[in-house]
C-alpha cells in the first residue's frame, strides 16, 4: 500500500472518530436521585456571561453523556466522565436562557447498563458578572513561601494570566513575598499590592502610573498591610500589623496567625504621606473598608490588654489566642478635610456572642455589609467554624448567610461591581485548599447557592495544589505587564512621609 493511501485512511479514521455522534441512550434506567457531579453545579444561579460550567460525573468508572436543553436549543456532551461544553454553544445557551434555565440531564454507563439521573437546572440570571477576578495563587503553607503570583482570570472564558510573579525578582538568597492586592472601584488604573523582604515595598498604580513606595515610617508599626482604596479620593486606608504565626499540635485548624499589635493609617497617594487613623492602646485595629460614598470607614478592632510583663507580647498572645475577639466599628470621614470622627461600635460580637468579626465588605449600593465571623482571632481562612454573615446597614440586623456557608471555613467575602454577585473564599472542598465560590445575591437581599469558579478541566481543583487567596472582582484586566512590575520592583522604594494629624 502506498504511503498516500495509508495517510488518506488515517485522516478518514481520525475524522470519523472526531465526528462521533453523541446521543442519549434510549434504554437508560431512571434513578430517583440527582447525579453526583463535581463541581456541584446542581440548581445554581449563574451570570449571563459566565464561561462554560464544565463538570465531571462521579458515578464510578463510567461513560457519561449529558444533554443540556436551553430555550435556544439542545446540545449533547460526553467525554468519558467529563462534560466539556463547547464555548460557542454555551454562549448561545446563555443568551437564550437569560432569566430562565438550562436543563441538564445526565446519563452514566455503569458496567454495560445506562442509568439516567434526575435532571437538574442551571439558572441563568438576568445579571452579568464583572469580567475579571484576580487572586493570589499560594500554597496553603505555613512560614515558607517560594513561588507566588497574583493572577487574573477572565470569568467569561478560561483565560488566565499572571499580573505579577515574585520569581521574576527572587533569588535563592533573597526571596520575595507578595501580599494583599486591591483595586479602586473595581478598576485597574488605581490598584496596589505589597511586597515583603527582597525588593520590598508597596507597588501602587495611581491613574495608570506605576510607583513603588515604602509606607513604613518611624511613627508607624509597619508598612501598609490590609488595604482599602477610598472610592472618590486618591487615598488608601491600611492597617499596620505586627504579625506572628504559631501552630496547633492537635487542632485541625493547624495554624494561628495573630497580630500582637495593629493600627490603622491613611495614605495620601498624591502627597505620598502617611498619617495615623487609629492607634489606641489595648486595641487591635484592622481590616479597614470604605462605604461606597466614601463618608464612612468601617473596620474591626479587638480589645486586648497584655498583663504579663514577664514574657514577650507574642508569647502572651499565643497563650491567650482564643481570647482575641474582634468587633465591628465605623467612623465618619470627611473627604475634604480628611478628618475622622464619631467612632462607633456597630456590632459587638465579642461580648454578646463570644465571636470575632473580620473582613468587612460593603455592597456597592451601601445597603449591606458582609463579614466573616468565627469564635476567635483575625485569620478566619484557617478557622473551620468561620462563616459569612451579613448586616443590613439600615437596620443593623445581622443574619448568617446559610446559603453561602459550609461546615468548613468561609472567609474573604467580596461584592461584584453591580452588587448582584458575592464571592467568598471557601475550604468546603477539602478543608485545606481555598477555592472561590460565587453566589447570586438577588434584589430581595437573598443569597443563592454558590458555585465553584468553573475551570476548563473539571478535575482542575483535584490537581491544583494552590489556594485562591483574596479573590477580588475587576471590571477590566490589569494592563501593566509582569515585566513592567518586575522592573519597577527592582527599583528603590520611595519613602513615604509621615504627617501628624
Amino acid at each position: 500500500m502506498k504511503l498516500k493511501n495509508i495517510l488518506s485512511i488515517a485522516v478518514m479514521a481520525t475524522l470519523l472518530v472526531a465526528c462521533k455522534h453523541l446521543d442519549v441512550p434510549s434504554d437508560a434506567q431512571m434513578e430517583s436521585r440527582l447525579p453526583k457531579i463535581y463541581p456541584d453545579y446542581t440548581e445554581v444561579m449563574v451570570p449571563a456571561n459566565i464561561c462554560p460550567m464544565n463538570f465531571a460525573v462521579q458515578e464510578g468508572e463510567s461513560e457519561t453523556i449529558a444533554r443540556l436543553t436551553s430555550p435556544g436549543g439542545t446540545y449533547i456532551y460526553g467525554d468519558n466522565q467529563k462534560v466539556l461544553i463547547d464555548e460557542t454553544e454555551w454562549t448561545d445557551m446563555l443568551k437564550s436562557a437569560k432569566g430562565k434555565e438550562i436543563k441538564v440531564e445526565v446519563f452514566a454507563k455503569i458496567g454495560d447498563k445506562w442509568k439516567a439521573y434526575q435532571p437538574f437546572n442551571i439558572y441563568v440570571a438576568e445579571d452579568s458578572i464583572d469580567e475579571y477576578i484576580s487572586y493570589r495563587a499560594i500554597q496553603p503553607s505555613y512560614v515558607a513561601y517560594e513561588k507566588l503570583s497574583i493572577n487574573q482570570r477572565n470569568l467569561t472564558n478560561f483565560d488566565e494570566r499572571e499580573i505579577y510573579n515574585n520569581m521574576s525578582v527572587s533569588s535563592e538568597k533573597v526571596g520575595q513575598c507578595i501580599n494583599c492586592h486591591s483595586y479602586k472601584n473595581f478598576k485597574t488604573d488605581n490598584m496596589l499590592f505589597h511586597m515583603r523582604q527582597g525588593y520590598g515595598g508597596t507597588m501602587i498604580v495611581s491613574n495608570g502610573e506605576l510607583k513603588k513606595v515604602d509606607l513604613k515610617t518611624d511613627e508607624t508599626l509597619s508598612a501598609g498591610v490590609y488595604p482599602a482604596w477610598h472610592p472618590t479620593k486618591n487615598l488608601i486606608a491600611f492597617s499596620t500589623n505586627k504579625t506572628g504565626q504559631s501552630f496547633h499540635t492537635k487542632n485541625l485548624n493547624k495554624i494561628e496567625v495573630q497580630d500582637t499589635e495593629s493600627d490603622l493609617i491613611l495614605y495620601d497617594v498624591d502627597k505620598n504621606e502617611v498619617s495615623i487613623i487609629s492607634e489606641l492602646d489595648d486595641e487591635l485595629e484592622v481590616f479597614p473598608t470604605w462605604s461606597p460614598d466614601g463618608k464612612k470607614l468601617y473596620f474591626c478592632s479587638a480589645h486586648f490588654e497584655y498583663y504579663n510583663d514577664s514574657i514577650e507580647k507574642s508569647a502572651e498572645m499565643i497563650q491567650r489566642y482564643d481570647e482575641v475577639k474582634y468587633n465591628l466599628y465605623s467612623a465618619d470621614f470627611n473627604p475634604d478635610t480628611k478628618e475622622f470622627s464619631n467612632v462607633q461600635m456597630i456590632y459587638n460580637a465579642s461580648d454578646s456572642l463570644g465571636q470575632s468579626v473580620t473582613l468587612p465588605r460593603i455592597s456597592p449600593d451601601g445597603k449591606y455589609l458582609l463579614f466573616a465571623q468565627a469564635e476567635y482571632g483575625c485569620f478566619h481562612v484557617w478557622h473551620a467554624d468561620a462563616d459569612i454573615y451579613m448586616m443590613n446597614l439600615k437596620t443593623q440586623q445581622v443574619q448568617k448567610m446559610d446559603a453561602l456557608n459550609s461546615e468548613r471555613s468561609e472567609s474573604y467575602p467580596t461584592w461584584s461591581s453591580n452588587g448582584r454577585w458575592i464571592m467568598v473564599d471557601s475550604r468546603r472542598d477539602d478543608g485545606n485548599y481555598t477555592r472561590p465560590y460565587i453566589a447570586y445575591f438577588d434584589k430581595k437581599g437573598k443569597a443563592h447557592k454558590p458555585f465553584m469558579l468553573p475551570q476548563k478541566d473539571p478535575y482542575f481543583y483535584t490537581f491544583y495544589l494552590r489556594s485562591f487567596n483574596r479573590p477580588e472582582f475587576m471590571i477590566e484586566p490589569v494592563n501593566i505587564t509582569p515585566q513592567e512590575f518586575a522592573e519597577k520592583a527592582k527599583e528603590d522604594a520611595i519613602p513615604a512621609k509621615y504627617a501628624d494629624r
Binding site: 515558607a144 520569581m167 521574576s168 535563592e172 504559631s246 501552630f247
Partner: protein
C-alpha cells in the same frame, strides 16, 4: 585492536557508571526520585512546561522517576550517555585512538550527578539528573542536524555557525517575552564537597537507608544501619535510631546504642536542617501529625513538591481523618507510575476504617496519639529540640509507650526536673514491677542532684546499678584529681561506662541542633 578501542572505552565507562550509580549509590538515586514528582496528565504537564526549563524539565522529571528502581533509571541515563558518546564521535569524526576524548561529556555528566551530596534535598532544579544530559543531547543533535542540512550549501562557516547558533540564542529571548519568569535558575549556592559526601560519607548513606527503612516501618533495618565501628553517627541517625527503639519497645536502650550525634560535615551547606532532611517522618513517628504535615508542606513549598511530601501529607490527612484532602493527594499519587500501588493501599485505609485500624502504621502510632491535649506552639525549625522539650514537659502520659517516651526524652534532654517528676510517677504507677536499668541510672544521678525537685532517699536501687554508679563516680573523681582533661576522661571511661546514661550525661556536651 585499534578499531575496538572505542568499544573498550565505552565498556569501561559503562562499567564504572554502573558501579558508581546503582551499585554504590542506589539509595542516593532512590532518594532523588523520592524528592522528585511526576504526575501523568495534562495539568501537571502544563504547569511544568510553562515553568522554568519548560519541556526539558518535564521530560527530565518523567525520566527521574525511573530511579525508583535505581538499576532501571541508571540504565536509561547511561543509554543517553552512550548516545552522546556516539554522536560526538560521528560529528567530529574522532579517530579510534582518540575516542576516549568523546567520553569527556558523559564523564562530566556522571560527576555532576554524583556531586550533589546533601544538595539532593535543596536543589531547586527539578529533574536535575537528566536536565544537563538532555540539554547536551539536544545541542549535539541540533548541531549535527545543521551540519547535515548545510553540507551541500556553498556558504561560509561563519554563516553556518550563525544558522546553528542563532536560533539557540533566540530561544531564551522569546521565552522571556512569553513567560517572563522563565529561565531563572535560582541555585545561587553551589555544592562544593558534594562528590565527597556522595562517595565517601558513610553517615550520608546510613541516613538515606534509615529514612527509607523508617518510611516502610522496617525498624530492625533502621537499627542495623547504626555504625558499629566506633564512627560517630549524625544527630539525624540518632533520632532515627531512637524512633526505631521506641517502636520496638527498646527505648530504654538508647544510651547503650550510641546516642552522641554530630552535625554532618557538609562543608559548604549553610542550610542543612533536620527539618528538611527528616522532620515530617520524625514528627509522624512521634505521633505529631499536624507538625509532620506542616513540614511536609513547608518543604514542598520551598523545595518543590515531591513524592516524599505527598506521601507524608497523605498519611497525616488520613490520621487526621481529613479524607477529602487525603483523596486529593492519593489521586495525584495514583496518577504516578511507581507510587500508584502505595496510593491504592492507602486509599483502602480511607475506604475501610478496619483496614486502617489494623494497619501496622496505626497500630504502631496509636499509643502516641492518645494524648489529646492541644497546644499552640512552634518549633522554630528545630525538630529534635522541640520534641525533647515537648515530651519532657508532658505530664501524666496516658499510655505505657508515652510513659517511656517522656522518661527517655527527659533523660536525653538532661532535664533533671522533668525526669524526676516522671520517675516519681512511674514508680508510683508500677509499684510491683522492676524498674528498667536506664531509669535507675537516671534517677541515681539526677535524683540526688542538688536541684532535684524530689527526694529519692526511699528508693532502693538495684545493687548492680548502685555499685556501678559508685564505681563510675570513684573513677571519675580519680581522673579529675589527676588533672585529666574531659576528652581524655571520656575516652578512658568509655570501655567500662560508655553504655551508661552517666557517661552520656558527663561527656556528651556537644548537642548540636541543626
Amino acid at each position: 585492536m585499534k578499531k575496538y578501542l572505542k568499544y573498550i572505552y565505552l565498556f569501561a565507562f559503562i562499567t564504572v557508571a554502573y558501579i558508581l550509580l546503582p551499585v554504590m549509590n542506589g539509595d542516593y538515586l532512590y532518594t532523588i526520585q523520592d524528592n522528585n514528582v511526576f504526575i501523568n496528565g495534562h495539568t501537571f504537564m502544563m504547569e511544568t512546561v510553562t515553568g522554568e526549563g519548560g519541556w526539558i524539565v518535564w521530560v527530565a522529571r518523567y525520566l527521574t522517576q525511573f530511579f525508583y528502581h535505581p538499576w532501571l533509571g541508571s540504565t536509561i541515563l547511561i543509554l543517553f550517555w552512550v548516545a552522546i558518546y556516539w554522536i560526538t564521535i560521528r560529528m567530529f569524526n574522532i579517530k579510534d585512538k582518540w575516542c576516549f576524548a568523546a567520553l569527556a561529556i558523559p564523564v562530566f555528566l556522571l560527576y555532576d550527578l554524583l556531586s550533589y551530596g546533601y544538595w539532593i534535598y535543596y536543589a531547586k532544579a527539578p529533574g536535575f539528573p537528566f536536565v544537563p544530559t538532555l540539554l547536551v543531547l539536544f545541542v549535539l543533535l541540533y548541531t549535527w542536524g545543521i551540519i547535515y542540512l548545510t553540507r551541500n550549501l556553498h556558504i561560509s562557516w561563519h554563516l553556518k555557525g550563525l544558522i546553528a547558533i542563532g536560533p539557540l540564542a533566540i530561544i531564551p529571548y522569546i521565552s522571556h517575552l512569553l513567560w517572563p519568569t522563565s529561565w531563572h535558575w535560582h541555585l545561587d549556592y553551589q555544592p562544593k564537597n558534594g562528590i565527597l559526601t556522595t562517595l565517601t560519607d558513610k553517615n550520608f548513606r546510613h541516613e538515606l537507608r534509615m529514612y527509607r527503612a523508617l518510611d516502610e516501618f522496617r525498624f530492625e533495618d533502621v537499627l542495623n544501619e547504626m555504625p558499629t565501628d566506633g564512627q560517630a553517627p549524625t544527630n539525624l541517625m540518632v533520632l532515627y535510631k531512637n524512633i526505631a527503639l521506641m517502636h520496638t519497645g527498646q527505648m530504654d536502650r538508647m544510651f547503650e546504642t550510641n546516642n552522641c550525634g554530630i552535625k554532618p560535615d557538609t562543608g559548604d551547606s549553610p542550610k542543612i536542617r533536620t527539618s528538611l532532611l527528616g522532620a515530617p517522618i520524625i514528627y509522624y513517628m512521634f505521633g505529631h501529625i499536624n507538625y509532620s504535615y506542616r513540614w511536609a508542606m513547608e518543604n514542598a513549598v520551598q523545595y518543590g513538591l515531591s513524592f516524599r511530601s505527598l506521601k507524608m501529607m497523605t498519611r497525616c490527612a488520613i490520621f487526621n481523618q481529613e479524607f477529602e484532602v487525603a483523596a486529593k493527594y492519593i489521586s495525584l499519587l495514583k496518577s504516578s507510575t511507581f507510587h500508584r500501588q502505595w496510593a491504592i493501599e492507602h486509599e483502602a485505609w480511607m475506604m475501610n476504617s478496619t483496614n486502617f485500624i489494623q494497619s501496622k502504621e496505626y497500630q504502631t502510632l496509636s499509643p502516641l496519639l492518645s494524648d489529646n491535649k492541644n497546644i499552640l506552639d512552634g518549633d522554630d525549625g528545630l525538630c529534635e529540640q522541640y520534641l525533647l522539650e515537648y515530651f519532657s514537659d508532658l505530664n501524666h502520659p496516658s499510655t505505657p509507650l508515652l510513659e517511656n517516651v517522656t522518661m527517655c526524652m527527659s533523660l536525653w534532654a538532661k532535664d533533671y526536673y522533668a525526669f524526676c517528676v516522671h520517675f516519681y510517677d512511674y514508680v508510683n504507677n508500677h509499684p510491683n514491677s522492676p524498674i528498667p536499668l536506664l531509669y535507675q541510672e537516671g534517677a541515681i544521678l539526677l535524683g540526688n542532684a542538688e536541684e532535684s525537685p524530689i527526694t529519692l532517699d526511699q528508693f532502693r536501687f538495684d545493687d548492680v546499678v548502685a555499685n556501678k554508679y559508685n564505681g563510675f563516680i570513684q573513677d571519675y573523681n580519680q581522673l579529675l584529681q589527676q588533672g585529666i582533661k574531659e576528652q581524655e576522661m571520656a575516652k578512658r571511661l568509655k570501655p567500662l561506662y560508655g553504655n551508661t546514661y552517666w557517661w552520656y550525661y558527663y561527656f556528651y556536651n556537644d548537642f548540636n541542633i541543626y
